[in-house]
Protein backbone atom coordinates (compact mmCIF):
# COMPACT_ATOMS: atom_id res chain seq x y z
CA UNK A 1 0.00 0.00 0.00
CA UNK A 2 0.96 3.59 -0.54
CA UNK A 3 0.21 4.66 3.02
CA UNK A 4 3.36 6.77 3.26
CA UNK A 5 2.42 9.02 0.39
CA UNK A 6 -0.99 9.75 1.86
CA UNK A 7 0.45 10.52 5.26
CA UNK A 8 3.09 12.79 3.72
CA UNK A 9 0.45 14.65 1.73
CA UNK A 10 -1.60 15.06 4.90
CA UNK A 11 1.42 16.28 6.87
CA UNK A 12 2.22 18.86 4.17
CA UNK A 13 -1.39 20.06 4.11
CA UNK A 14 -1.40 20.26 7.90
CA UNK A 15 1.78 22.33 7.91
CA UNK A 16 0.47 24.68 5.23
CA UNK A 17 -2.72 25.09 7.25
CA UNK A 18 -0.89 25.86 10.48
CA UNK A 19 1.35 28.33 8.64
CA UNK A 20 -1.74 30.03 7.24
CA UNK A 21 -3.41 30.31 10.64
CA UNK A 22 -0.31 31.87 12.14
CA UNK A 23 0.61 34.24 9.30
CA UNK A 24 -2.68 35.33 7.72
CA UNK A 25 -4.36 38.35 9.26
CA UNK A 26 -7.61 38.13 7.33
CA UNK A 27 -10.42 36.37 9.20
CA UNK A 28 -11.74 34.50 6.17
CA UNK A 29 -8.30 33.30 5.11
CA UNK A 30 -7.66 31.96 8.60
CA UNK A 31 -10.88 29.98 8.28
CA UNK A 32 -9.69 28.60 4.95
CA UNK A 33 -6.37 27.56 6.50
CA UNK A 34 -8.26 25.69 9.20
CA UNK A 35 -10.20 23.90 6.46
CA UNK A 36 -6.85 22.76 5.05
CA UNK A 37 -5.95 21.20 8.39
CA UNK A 38 -9.32 19.46 8.54
CA UNK A 39 -8.77 18.06 5.05
CA UNK A 40 -5.36 16.77 6.13
CA UNK A 41 -7.19 15.00 8.95
CA UNK A 42 -9.66 13.46 6.49
CA UNK A 43 -6.85 12.18 4.25
CA UNK A 44 -5.17 10.61 7.27
CA UNK A 45 -8.37 9.00 8.48
CA UNK A 46 -9.28 7.52 5.11
CA UNK A 47 -5.74 6.32 4.44
CA UNK A 48 -5.69 4.54 7.78
CA UNK A 49 -9.17 3.12 7.28
CA UNK A 50 -7.89 0.96 4.40
CA UNK A 51 -6.16 -1.01 7.17
CA UNK A 52 -8.57 -0.71 10.05
CA UNK A 53 -12.02 -0.83 8.49
CA UNK A 54 -14.93 1.55 8.37
CA UNK A 55 -14.29 3.50 11.59
CA UNK A 56 -12.04 6.05 9.96
CA UNK A 57 -14.41 6.74 7.08
CA UNK A 58 -17.28 7.30 9.49
CA UNK A 59 -15.03 9.65 11.47
CA UNK A 60 -14.19 11.55 8.26
CA UNK A 61 -17.89 12.02 7.52
CA UNK A 62 -18.39 13.48 10.99
CA UNK A 63 -15.42 15.80 10.48
CA UNK A 64 -16.87 17.08 7.19
CA UNK A 65 -20.29 17.72 8.73
CA UNK A 66 -18.93 19.44 11.82
CA UNK A 67 -16.52 21.55 9.77
CA UNK A 68 -19.47 22.88 7.79
CA UNK A 69 -21.24 23.88 11.01
CA UNK A 70 -18.09 25.52 12.34
CA UNK A 71 -17.55 27.58 9.22
CA UNK A 72 -21.19 28.65 9.27
CA UNK A 73 -20.81 30.08 12.76
CA UNK A 74 -17.37 31.51 11.98
CA UNK A 75 -18.50 33.41 8.90
CA UNK A 76 -21.43 34.80 10.90
CA UNK A 77 -19.06 36.14 13.54
CA UNK A 78 -16.69 37.56 10.89
CA UNK A 79 -19.67 39.26 9.23
CA UNK A 80 -20.68 40.73 12.60
CA UNK A 81 -17.20 42.16 13.04
CA UNK A 82 -17.28 43.57 9.51
CA UNK A 83 -20.59 45.31 10.20
CA UNK A 84 -19.25 46.98 13.33
CA UNK A 85 -15.70 47.74 12.26
CA UNK A 86 -15.73 47.70 8.44
CA UNK A 87 -12.69 45.43 8.49
CA UNK A 88 -11.94 41.75 9.03
CA UNK A 89 -8.29 42.26 9.90
CA UNK A 90 -7.62 40.21 13.02
CA UNK A 91 -4.89 42.58 14.18
CA UNK A 92 -7.43 45.39 14.29
CA UNK A 93 -9.17 43.61 17.17
CA UNK A 94 -7.37 45.19 20.07
CA UNK A 95 -10.09 46.45 22.38
CA UNK A 96 -9.36 43.78 24.97
CA UNK A 97 -5.90 43.26 26.36
CA UNK A 98 -3.88 43.17 29.54
Amino acid sequence: MLLNQFLLLAAVLFSVGVYGVIVRRNGVLVLMSIELILNAVNINLIAFSTFWGMGGQVFALFVIAVAAAEVGVGLAIVLLIYRNKRSIDIDALDELKG
Binding site: V21, I34, L38, N44, L45, W52, A76, K85, L93, L96
Partner: protein, 508 residues
Protein backbone atom coordinates in the same frame (compact mmCIF):
# COMPACT_ATOMS: atom_id res chain seq x y z
CA UNK B 1 -32.38 -12.10 -14.58
CA UNK B 2 -34.07 -8.72 -14.79
CA UNK B 3 -32.44 -5.58 -13.48
CA UNK B 4 -34.92 -5.28 -10.64
CA UNK B 5 -34.25 -8.83 -9.54
CA UNK B 6 -30.51 -8.17 -9.63
CA UNK B 7 -30.93 -5.10 -7.44
CA UNK B 8 -33.07 -6.99 -4.98
CA UNK B 9 -30.51 -9.78 -4.86
CA UNK B 10 -27.69 -7.31 -4.26
CA UNK B 11 -29.47 -5.40 -1.56
CA UNK B 12 -30.94 -8.38 0.19
CA UNK B 13 -28.10 -10.84 0.07
CA UNK B 14 -24.91 -10.56 2.09
CA UNK B 15 -25.21 -7.56 4.41
CA UNK B 16 -28.07 -7.45 6.85
CA UNK B 17 -28.12 -4.42 9.09
CA UNK B 18 -29.28 -4.83 12.61
CA UNK B 19 -29.62 -1.72 14.73
CA UNK B 20 -27.95 -1.70 18.12
CA UNK B 21 -30.07 -2.43 21.14
CA UNK B 22 -30.49 0.87 22.90
CA UNK B 23 -30.78 1.26 26.65
CA UNK B 24 -33.23 4.16 26.76
CA UNK B 25 -33.00 4.49 30.51
CA UNK B 26 -29.28 5.17 30.30
CA UNK B 27 -29.82 7.74 27.55
CA UNK B 28 -32.81 9.42 29.23
CA UNK B 29 -30.95 12.59 30.36
CA UNK B 30 -29.67 13.20 26.84
CA UNK B 31 -33.11 12.54 25.38
CA UNK B 32 -34.74 14.99 27.81
CA UNK B 33 -32.20 17.68 26.94
CA UNK B 34 -32.59 17.11 23.18
CA UNK B 35 -36.33 17.40 23.59
CA UNK B 36 -35.81 20.59 25.59
CA UNK B 37 -33.82 22.13 22.72
CA UNK B 38 -36.61 21.32 20.28
CA UNK B 39 -39.29 22.64 22.64
CA UNK B 40 -37.37 25.90 23.18
CA UNK B 41 -36.97 26.45 19.43
CA UNK B 42 -40.65 25.73 18.83
CA UNK B 43 -41.75 27.93 21.71
CA UNK B 44 -39.65 30.73 20.33
CA UNK B 45 -40.98 30.43 16.81
CA UNK B 46 -44.63 30.03 17.81
CA UNK B 47 -45.06 32.56 20.59
CA UNK B 48 -42.33 35.03 19.62
CA UNK B 49 -42.28 38.08 21.90
CA UNK B 50 -44.62 36.62 24.50
CA UNK B 51 -42.38 33.57 24.88
CA UNK B 52 -39.51 35.60 26.30
CA UNK B 53 -40.83 35.51 29.83
CA UNK B 54 -41.28 31.73 29.80
CA UNK B 55 -37.90 30.84 28.37
CA UNK B 56 -35.84 30.71 31.58
CA UNK B 57 -38.62 28.85 33.40
CA UNK B 58 -39.00 26.24 30.66
CA UNK B 59 -35.23 25.83 30.48
CA UNK B 60 -34.89 25.28 34.19
CA UNK B 61 -37.80 22.85 34.32
CA UNK B 62 -36.17 20.88 31.51
CA UNK B 63 -32.87 20.82 33.39
CA UNK B 64 -34.62 19.54 36.52
CA UNK B 65 -36.37 16.98 34.33
CA UNK B 66 -32.99 15.79 33.08
CA UNK B 67 -31.82 15.34 36.67
CA UNK B 68 -34.59 12.80 37.44
CA UNK B 69 -33.25 10.00 35.20
CA UNK B 70 -29.79 10.71 36.63
CA UNK B 71 -31.15 9.98 40.10
CA UNK B 72 -32.91 6.79 39.02
CA UNK B 73 -29.76 5.63 37.22
CA UNK B 74 -27.64 6.36 40.29
CA UNK B 75 -30.15 4.43 42.40
CA UNK B 76 -29.91 1.47 40.02
CA UNK B 77 -26.14 1.56 40.34
CA UNK B 78 -23.76 -0.39 38.17
CA UNK B 79 -22.15 0.55 34.89
CA UNK B 80 -24.00 0.37 31.60
CA UNK B 81 -21.95 0.16 28.41
CA UNK B 82 -23.80 1.14 25.26
CA UNK B 83 -22.85 0.79 21.58
CA UNK B 84 -20.11 -1.75 22.20
CA UNK B 85 -18.45 0.24 24.96
CA UNK B 86 -18.38 3.57 23.07
CA UNK B 87 -20.79 5.17 25.50
CA UNK B 88 -20.54 4.35 29.19
CA UNK B 89 -22.99 5.35 31.92
CA UNK B 90 -21.54 4.69 35.36
CA UNK B 91 -21.13 6.44 38.70
CA UNK B 92 -18.49 8.92 37.54
CA UNK B 93 -20.22 9.97 34.29
CA UNK B 94 -23.46 10.34 36.26
CA UNK B 95 -21.85 12.63 38.80
CA UNK B 96 -20.22 14.74 36.08
CA UNK B 97 -23.52 14.98 34.22
CA UNK B 98 -25.25 16.12 37.42
CA UNK B 99 -22.51 18.74 37.88
CA UNK B 100 -22.97 20.05 34.32
CA UNK B 101 -26.74 20.22 34.66
CA UNK B 102 -26.69 21.97 38.05
CA UNK B 103 -24.06 24.41 36.78
CA UNK B 104 -26.21 25.27 33.81
CA UNK B 105 -29.20 25.64 36.12
CA UNK B 106 -27.29 28.24 38.12
CA UNK B 107 -26.12 29.96 34.92
CA UNK B 108 -29.74 30.25 33.79
CA UNK B 109 -30.59 31.82 37.16
CA UNK B 110 -27.75 34.30 36.63
CA UNK B 111 -28.86 35.06 33.07
CA UNK B 112 -32.54 35.67 33.72
CA UNK B 113 -32.30 39.30 34.83
CA UNK B 114 -29.11 40.05 32.92
CA UNK B 115 -30.66 39.06 29.60
CA UNK B 116 -34.04 40.67 30.29
CA UNK B 117 -32.53 44.00 31.36
CA UNK B 118 -29.86 44.29 28.70
CA UNK B 119 -30.46 44.57 25.00
CA UNK B 120 -30.12 40.90 24.13
CA UNK B 121 -31.74 38.22 22.05
CA UNK B 122 -33.30 36.17 24.79
CA UNK B 123 -34.99 33.15 23.33
CA UNK B 124 -32.12 31.82 21.27
CA UNK B 125 -29.82 32.31 24.24
CA UNK B 126 -31.47 29.55 26.24
CA UNK B 127 -31.67 27.22 23.25
CA UNK B 128 -27.93 27.55 22.69
CA UNK B 129 -27.18 27.16 26.38
CA UNK B 130 -29.05 23.84 26.50
CA UNK B 131 -27.40 22.66 23.25
CA UNK B 132 -24.02 23.33 24.75
CA UNK B 133 -25.03 21.50 27.92
CA UNK B 134 -26.10 18.54 25.80
CA UNK B 135 -22.57 18.39 24.38
CA UNK B 136 -21.11 18.33 27.88
CA UNK B 137 -23.45 15.60 29.04
CA UNK B 138 -22.50 13.49 26.02
CA UNK B 139 -18.83 14.19 26.70
CA UNK B 140 -19.11 12.75 30.22
CA UNK B 141 -20.07 9.33 28.81
CA UNK B 142 -18.09 9.17 25.57
CA UNK B 143 -15.38 6.53 25.40
CA UNK B 144 -14.78 6.86 21.68
CA UNK B 145 -12.77 9.33 19.59
CA UNK B 146 -15.78 10.13 17.40
CA UNK B 147 -18.03 10.63 20.40
CA UNK B 148 -15.53 12.88 22.13
CA UNK B 149 -15.01 14.96 19.00
CA UNK B 150 -18.72 15.40 18.30
CA UNK B 151 -19.43 16.24 21.96
CA UNK B 152 -16.60 18.79 21.94
CA UNK B 153 -18.00 20.53 18.88
CA UNK B 154 -21.57 20.35 20.16
CA UNK B 155 -20.54 22.16 23.32
CA UNK B 156 -18.16 24.62 21.62
CA UNK B 157 -20.14 25.87 18.63
CA UNK B 158 -23.03 27.29 20.69
CA UNK B 159 -20.45 28.76 23.08
CA UNK B 160 -18.80 30.71 20.22
CA UNK B 161 -22.14 32.30 19.47
CA UNK B 162 -22.88 32.99 23.14
CA UNK B 163 -19.53 34.76 23.60
CA UNK B 164 -20.37 37.24 20.84
CA UNK B 165 -23.93 37.65 22.04
CA UNK B 166 -23.86 41.46 22.31
CA UNK B 167 -24.17 41.98 18.57
CA UNK B 168 -23.62 45.73 18.51
CA UNK B 169 -20.70 45.75 20.93
CA UNK B 170 -17.27 45.46 19.32
CA UNK B 171 -15.77 44.06 22.53
CA UNK B 172 -18.21 41.18 22.60
CA UNK B 173 -17.63 40.52 18.87
CA UNK B 174 -13.91 40.49 19.49
CA UNK B 175 -14.35 38.09 22.40
CA UNK B 176 -16.38 35.79 20.18
CA UNK B 177 -13.98 35.86 17.23
CA UNK B 178 -10.93 35.24 19.41
CA UNK B 179 -12.66 32.35 21.12
CA UNK B 180 -13.85 30.96 17.81
CA UNK B 181 -10.52 31.11 15.99
CA UNK B 182 -8.59 29.66 18.91
CA UNK B 183 -11.20 26.99 19.53
CA UNK B 184 -11.45 25.91 15.91
CA UNK B 185 -7.69 25.87 15.45
CA UNK B 186 -7.35 23.81 18.63
CA UNK B 187 -9.95 21.31 17.52
CA UNK B 188 -8.23 21.03 14.12
CA UNK B 189 -4.91 20.22 15.79
CA UNK B 190 -6.73 17.85 18.13
CA UNK B 191 -8.31 16.10 15.15
CA UNK B 192 -4.96 15.67 13.46
CA UNK B 193 -3.72 14.04 16.65
CA UNK B 194 -6.85 11.89 16.81
CA UNK B 195 -6.35 10.72 13.22
CA UNK B 196 -2.82 9.58 14.14
CA UNK B 197 -4.14 7.89 17.29
CA UNK B 198 -6.70 6.09 15.15
CA UNK B 199 -3.96 4.98 12.80
CA UNK B 200 -1.87 3.65 15.66
CA UNK B 201 -4.67 2.10 17.68
CA UNK B 202 -6.67 0.67 14.80
CA UNK B 203 -9.96 1.65 16.39
CA UNK B 204 -11.80 4.72 17.53
CA UNK B 205 -12.72 3.11 20.87
CA UNK B 206 -10.51 4.31 23.71
CA UNK B 207 -10.43 0.87 25.30
CA UNK B 208 -9.02 -0.75 22.14
CA UNK B 209 -6.51 2.06 21.66
CA UNK B 210 -5.31 1.63 25.23
CA UNK B 211 -4.87 -2.10 24.66
CA UNK B 212 -2.84 -1.60 21.47
CA UNK B 213 -0.65 1.05 23.11
CA UNK B 214 -0.03 -1.29 26.04
CA UNK B 215 0.81 -4.25 23.81
CA UNK B 216 3.32 -2.38 21.67
CA UNK B 217 5.02 -0.05 24.13
CA UNK B 218 8.12 0.71 22.08
CA UNK B 219 6.79 0.62 18.52
CA UNK B 220 6.70 3.82 16.54
CA UNK B 221 7.73 6.03 19.42
CA UNK B 222 7.98 9.33 17.50
CA UNK B 223 4.51 8.93 16.02
CA UNK B 224 2.99 8.01 19.36
CA UNK B 225 4.57 11.06 20.94
CA UNK B 226 3.37 13.32 18.14
CA UNK B 227 -0.17 11.96 18.31
CA UNK B 228 -0.43 12.25 22.08
CA UNK B 229 1.09 15.73 22.13
CA UNK B 230 -1.36 16.98 19.48
CA UNK B 231 -4.38 15.55 21.30
CA UNK B 232 -3.32 16.97 24.65
CA UNK B 233 -2.55 20.38 23.10
CA UNK B 234 -6.00 20.44 21.53
CA UNK B 235 -7.61 20.09 24.93
CA UNK B 236 -5.07 22.40 26.58
CA UNK B 237 -6.66 25.20 24.53
CA UNK B 238 -10.08 24.18 25.78
CA UNK B 239 -9.08 24.20 29.45
CA UNK B 240 -7.01 27.38 28.91
CA UNK B 241 -3.70 25.91 30.06
CA UNK B 242 -0.55 27.96 29.51
CA UNK B 243 0.81 28.49 26.82
CA UNK B 244 -2.55 28.08 25.09
CA UNK B 245 -4.45 30.47 27.36
CA UNK B 246 -4.24 33.79 25.50
CA UNK B 247 -7.85 33.75 24.38
CA UNK B 248 -9.31 33.24 27.85
CA UNK B 249 -8.93 36.64 29.57
CA UNK B 250 -10.06 38.57 26.48
CA UNK B 251 -13.03 36.32 25.87
CA UNK B 252 -14.03 36.33 29.53
CA UNK B 253 -13.91 40.11 29.73
CA UNK B 254 -15.72 40.79 26.46
CA UNK B 255 -18.47 38.20 26.69
CA UNK B 256 -21.63 38.86 28.73
CA UNK B 257 -20.80 37.89 32.33
CA UNK B 258 -23.27 34.97 32.65
CA UNK B 259 -21.73 33.51 29.48
CA UNK B 260 -18.28 34.03 31.00
CA UNK B 261 -19.46 32.05 34.02
CA UNK B 262 -20.63 29.26 31.75
CA UNK B 263 -17.33 29.19 29.85
CA UNK B 264 -15.18 29.41 32.97
CA UNK B 265 -17.02 26.67 34.81
CA UNK B 266 -18.87 24.28 32.54
CA UNK B 267 -16.91 24.52 29.31
CA UNK B 268 -13.58 24.21 31.08
CA UNK B 269 -14.85 21.24 33.10
CA UNK B 270 -15.93 19.54 29.88
CA UNK B 271 -12.40 19.92 28.52
CA UNK B 272 -11.07 18.26 31.66
CA UNK B 273 -13.61 15.45 31.38
CA UNK B 274 -12.39 14.72 27.86
CA UNK B 275 -8.77 14.76 29.03
CA UNK B 276 -9.66 12.36 31.84
CA UNK B 277 -11.32 9.93 29.42
CA UNK B 278 -8.47 10.07 26.93
CA UNK B 279 -5.60 9.89 29.39
CA UNK B 280 -6.98 7.33 31.81
CA UNK B 281 -8.73 5.03 29.33
CA UNK B 282 -6.40 5.19 26.34
CA UNK B 283 -3.05 6.89 26.89
CA UNK B 284 -2.16 5.50 30.30
CA UNK B 285 0.26 2.85 28.93
CA UNK B 286 2.38 5.71 27.61
CA UNK B 287 2.66 7.52 30.94
CA UNK B 288 6.33 8.16 30.07
CA UNK B 289 5.16 10.63 27.39
CA UNK B 290 2.16 12.23 29.02
CA UNK B 291 3.58 12.83 32.49
CA UNK B 292 6.33 15.30 31.46
CA UNK B 293 3.91 16.94 29.03
CA UNK B 294 1.37 17.57 31.77
CA UNK B 295 4.14 18.67 34.13
CA UNK B 296 5.01 21.53 31.76
CA UNK B 297 1.35 22.46 31.23
CA UNK B 298 0.50 22.30 34.95
CA UNK B 299 3.36 24.34 36.36
CA UNK B 300 3.16 26.80 33.45
CA UNK B 301 -0.54 27.36 33.97
CA UNK B 302 -0.43 27.87 37.70
CA UNK B 303 2.61 30.13 37.66
CA UNK B 304 1.71 32.31 34.69
CA UNK B 305 -1.95 32.44 35.70
CA UNK B 306 -1.17 33.60 39.22
CA UNK B 307 1.49 36.12 38.23
CA UNK B 308 -0.78 37.66 35.59
CA UNK B 309 -3.71 37.75 38.02
CA UNK B 310 -1.62 39.84 40.43
CA UNK B 311 -1.69 42.90 38.18
CA UNK B 312 -5.33 42.83 37.06
CA UNK B 313 -7.61 45.74 37.83
CA UNK B 314 -10.80 44.12 36.57
CA UNK B 315 -12.34 41.43 38.76
CA UNK B 316 -13.68 39.35 35.85
CA UNK B 317 -10.26 39.40 34.20
CA UNK B 318 -8.66 38.49 37.51
CA UNK B 319 -11.05 35.56 37.83
CA UNK B 320 -10.09 34.52 34.30
CA UNK B 321 -6.41 34.38 35.24
CA UNK B 322 -7.27 32.69 38.53
CA UNK B 323 -9.17 30.14 36.44
CA UNK B 324 -5.99 29.50 34.44
CA UNK B 325 -4.10 28.98 37.69
CA UNK B 326 -6.79 26.59 38.95
CA UNK B 327 -6.57 24.72 35.64
CA UNK B 328 -2.89 24.23 36.49
CA UNK B 329 -3.86 22.69 39.81
CA UNK B 330 -6.34 20.40 38.07
CA UNK B 331 -3.68 19.34 35.57
CA UNK B 332 -1.25 18.47 38.36
CA UNK B 333 -2.69 14.99 39.15
CA UNK B 334 -2.10 14.04 35.49
CA UNK B 335 1.63 14.37 36.23
CA UNK B 336 1.41 11.27 38.41
CA UNK B 337 -1.27 9.52 36.33
CA UNK B 338 0.95 6.51 35.76
CA UNK B 339 1.70 5.78 39.42
CA UNK B 340 -1.79 5.88 40.83
CA UNK B 341 -4.39 6.33 38.09
CA UNK B 342 -7.43 5.84 40.28
CA UNK B 343 -6.46 8.40 42.94
CA UNK B 344 -5.35 10.98 40.35
CA UNK B 345 -8.62 10.67 38.49
CA UNK B 346 -10.58 10.99 41.71
CA UNK B 347 -8.73 14.11 42.84
CA UNK B 348 -9.29 15.80 39.46
CA UNK B 349 -13.02 15.07 39.53
CA UNK B 350 -13.33 16.30 43.13
CA UNK B 351 -11.44 19.49 42.23
CA UNK B 352 -13.68 20.04 39.18
CA UNK B 353 -16.88 19.82 41.19
CA UNK B 354 -15.68 22.04 44.04
CA UNK B 355 -14.16 24.55 41.63
CA UNK B 356 -17.48 24.72 39.79
CA UNK B 357 -19.34 25.52 43.02
CA UNK B 358 -17.02 28.25 44.28
CA UNK B 359 -16.37 29.86 40.92
CA UNK B 360 -20.08 30.01 40.13
CA UNK B 361 -20.57 31.76 43.47
CA UNK B 362 -17.80 34.28 42.84
CA UNK B 363 -19.17 35.15 39.39
CA UNK B 364 -22.71 35.37 40.75
CA UNK B 365 -21.57 37.88 43.38
CA UNK B 366 -19.72 39.93 40.74
CA UNK B 367 -22.84 39.98 38.53
CA UNK B 368 -25.03 40.98 41.49
CA UNK B 369 -22.68 43.75 42.60
CA UNK B 370 -22.19 45.00 39.03
CA UNK B 371 -25.93 45.69 38.91
CA UNK B 372 -25.19 48.67 41.10
CA UNK B 373 -21.61 49.58 40.25
CA UNK B 374 -22.17 49.10 36.49
CA UNK B 375 -18.64 47.73 36.11
CA UNK B 376 -16.43 44.97 37.40
CA UNK B 377 -13.39 47.23 37.83
CA UNK B 378 -11.78 46.72 41.20
CA UNK B 379 -11.79 50.43 42.03
CA UNK B 380 -15.55 50.59 41.56
CA UNK B 381 -16.04 47.78 44.04
CA UNK B 382 -14.29 49.72 46.82
CA UNK B 383 -16.33 49.80 49.98
CA UNK B 384 -19.30 47.90 48.59
CA UNK B 385 -19.68 46.31 52.00
CA UNK B 386 -21.47 49.52 53.11
CA UNK B 387 -24.19 49.39 50.47
CA UNK B 388 -24.36 45.62 49.91
CA UNK B 389 -23.09 43.88 53.04
CA UNK B 390 -24.62 40.49 52.27
CA UNK B 391 -23.17 40.25 48.79
CA UNK B 392 -19.77 41.52 49.85
CA UNK B 393 -19.44 38.96 52.62
CA UNK B 394 -20.62 36.14 50.34
CA UNK B 395 -17.96 37.23 47.85
CA UNK B 396 -15.35 37.11 50.63
CA UNK B 397 -16.42 33.55 51.45
CA UNK B 398 -16.05 32.46 47.82
CA UNK B 399 -12.65 34.16 47.58
CA UNK B 400 -11.58 32.38 50.78
CA UNK B 401 -12.66 29.11 49.23
CA UNK B 402 -10.68 29.90 46.05
CA UNK B 403 -7.62 30.51 48.25
CA UNK B 404 -8.22 27.15 49.89
CA UNK B 405 -9.15 28.06 53.47
CA UNK B 406 -10.88 25.39 55.52
CA UNK B 407 -13.72 24.74 56.17
CA UNK B 408 -14.73 25.92 52.69
CA UNK B 409 -14.69 23.52 49.76
CA UNK B 410 -11.53 24.86 48.15
CA UNK B 411 -9.25 23.50 50.83
CA UNK B 412 -10.34 19.93 50.29
CA UNK B 413 -9.85 20.22 46.53
CA UNK B 414 -6.29 21.48 46.99
CA UNK B 415 -5.59 18.99 49.77
CA UNK B 416 -6.69 16.10 47.54
CA UNK B 417 -4.39 17.20 44.72
CA UNK B 418 -1.42 17.66 47.10
CA UNK B 419 -2.01 14.24 48.61
CA UNK B 420 -2.03 12.51 45.23
CA UNK B 421 0.94 14.40 43.83
CA UNK B 422 3.14 13.83 46.87
CA UNK B 423 1.86 10.30 47.44
CA UNK B 424 3.11 9.16 44.04
CA UNK B 425 6.72 9.52 45.29
CA UNK B 426 8.12 10.46 41.89
CA UNK B 427 10.53 13.27 41.15
CA UNK B 428 8.07 15.11 38.93
CA UNK B 429 5.41 14.69 41.62
CA UNK B 430 7.55 16.32 44.30
CA UNK B 431 8.56 19.15 41.95
CA UNK B 432 4.90 19.80 41.14
CA UNK B 433 3.97 19.84 44.83
CA UNK B 434 6.64 22.44 45.65
CA UNK B 435 5.55 24.73 42.82
CA UNK B 436 1.92 24.27 43.85
CA UNK B 437 2.71 25.32 47.42
CA UNK B 438 4.44 28.51 46.23
CA UNK B 439 1.53 29.29 43.94
CA UNK B 440 -1.06 28.83 46.67
CA UNK B 441 0.70 31.59 48.58
CA UNK B 442 0.87 33.92 45.56
CA UNK B 443 -2.81 33.36 44.84
CA UNK B 444 -3.82 34.33 48.37
CA UNK B 445 -2.51 37.85 47.76
CA UNK B 446 -4.78 38.88 44.91
CA UNK B 447 -7.88 37.21 46.32
CA UNK B 448 -7.35 38.94 49.66
CA UNK B 449 -6.69 42.20 47.82
CA UNK B 450 -10.20 42.06 46.37
CA UNK B 451 -11.63 41.27 49.79
CA UNK B 452 -9.68 44.17 51.32
CA UNK B 453 -10.88 46.60 48.65
CA UNK B 454 -14.48 45.60 49.16
CA UNK B 455 -14.43 45.80 52.92
CA UNK B 456 -11.85 48.32 54.13
CA UNK B 457 -11.52 50.85 51.29
CA UNK B 458 -13.69 53.94 51.11
CA UNK B 459 -16.45 53.87 48.51
CA UNK B 460 -15.97 56.19 45.52
CA UNK B 461 -17.65 59.60 45.53
CA UNK B 462 -21.37 59.53 44.84
CA UNK B 463 -21.88 55.83 45.48
CA UNK B 464 -25.43 55.16 46.68
CA UNK B 465 -25.88 54.17 50.30
CA UNK B 466 -28.49 51.51 49.63
CA UNK B 467 -28.17 49.22 46.67
CA UNK B 468 -31.11 48.04 44.56
CA UNK B 469 -32.57 44.78 45.80
CA UNK B 470 -30.89 41.66 44.47
CA UNK B 471 -33.40 39.78 42.33
CA UNK B 472 -34.51 36.40 43.74
CA UNK B 473 -32.96 34.38 40.91
CA UNK B 474 -29.51 35.85 41.61
CA UNK B 475 -29.94 35.31 45.34
CA UNK B 476 -30.91 31.70 44.68
CA UNK B 477 -27.84 31.20 42.49
CA UNK B 478 -25.57 32.55 45.23
CA UNK B 479 -27.34 30.45 47.87
CA UNK B 480 -26.92 27.23 45.84
CA UNK B 481 -23.20 27.91 45.31
CA UNK B 482 -22.69 28.83 48.95
CA UNK B 483 -24.40 25.69 50.24
CA UNK B 484 -22.37 23.53 47.85
CA UNK B 485 -19.10 25.25 48.77
CA UNK B 486 -19.71 24.72 52.47
CA UNK B 487 -21.07 21.20 52.08
CA UNK B 488 -18.07 19.96 50.10
CA UNK B 489 -15.68 21.59 52.56
CA UNK B 490 -17.25 20.23 55.72
CA UNK B 491 -18.36 16.86 54.37
CA UNK B 492 -15.90 16.02 51.58
CA UNK B 493 -17.08 12.42 51.90
CA UNK B 494 -20.11 13.48 49.82
CA UNK B 495 -17.84 13.60 46.79
CA UNK B 496 -15.25 10.94 47.55
CA UNK B 497 -17.92 8.35 48.29
CA UNK B 498 -19.43 8.85 44.87
CA UNK B 499 -16.13 8.95 43.02
CA UNK B 500 -14.74 5.87 44.74
CA UNK B 501 -18.00 4.00 44.44
CA UNK B 502 -18.38 0.99 42.19
CA UNK B 503 -16.30 -0.06 39.20
CA UNK B 504 -14.83 3.35 38.55
CA UNK B 505 -11.48 1.74 37.88
CA UNK B 506 -10.12 1.64 34.38
CA UNK B 507 -12.44 0.37 31.71
CA UNK B 508 -15.48 1.04 33.90
Amino acid sequence: MSLAAQLVAQVGAPVSFRGPTIDYHALAPEIVLSAAVVVLVLLDSIKLERAKAYMPVVTNLALLGALIPLLTLAYDGGTRALFGGSYVVGPMPLMLKAMFIVTTYVVVLLSTNYMAEGDYWESEYYTLLVSSLLGMVVMASSRDLIGIFVALELLSIPAYMLASWRKGDVRSNEAGLKYFLMGVFASAVLLYGMSLVYGLGGSTRLEDIGRVLADAPTDGVPVVTLALVFVVIGFAFKVSAVPFHVWAPDTYEGAPTPVTTFLAVASKAAGFVALISLVFYAFLPRADIIEPLFFVLAIGSMTVGNLAALRQTNVVRMLAYSGIAHAGFMLAPFVVAGSNPFRSMQSIVVYLVIYAAMNLGAFACVIAMARQTRSAELKDLAGVVRSMPGLAWCMVLFLASLIGMPPLGGWYAKFGVFKVVVGAETGLGYATAIIMAINTAIAAYYYLNVAKTMIFDDPPEGAPVRAPRTPPSLAAAIAISLVATFAFGILPGLLTNVTSYGPLALGG
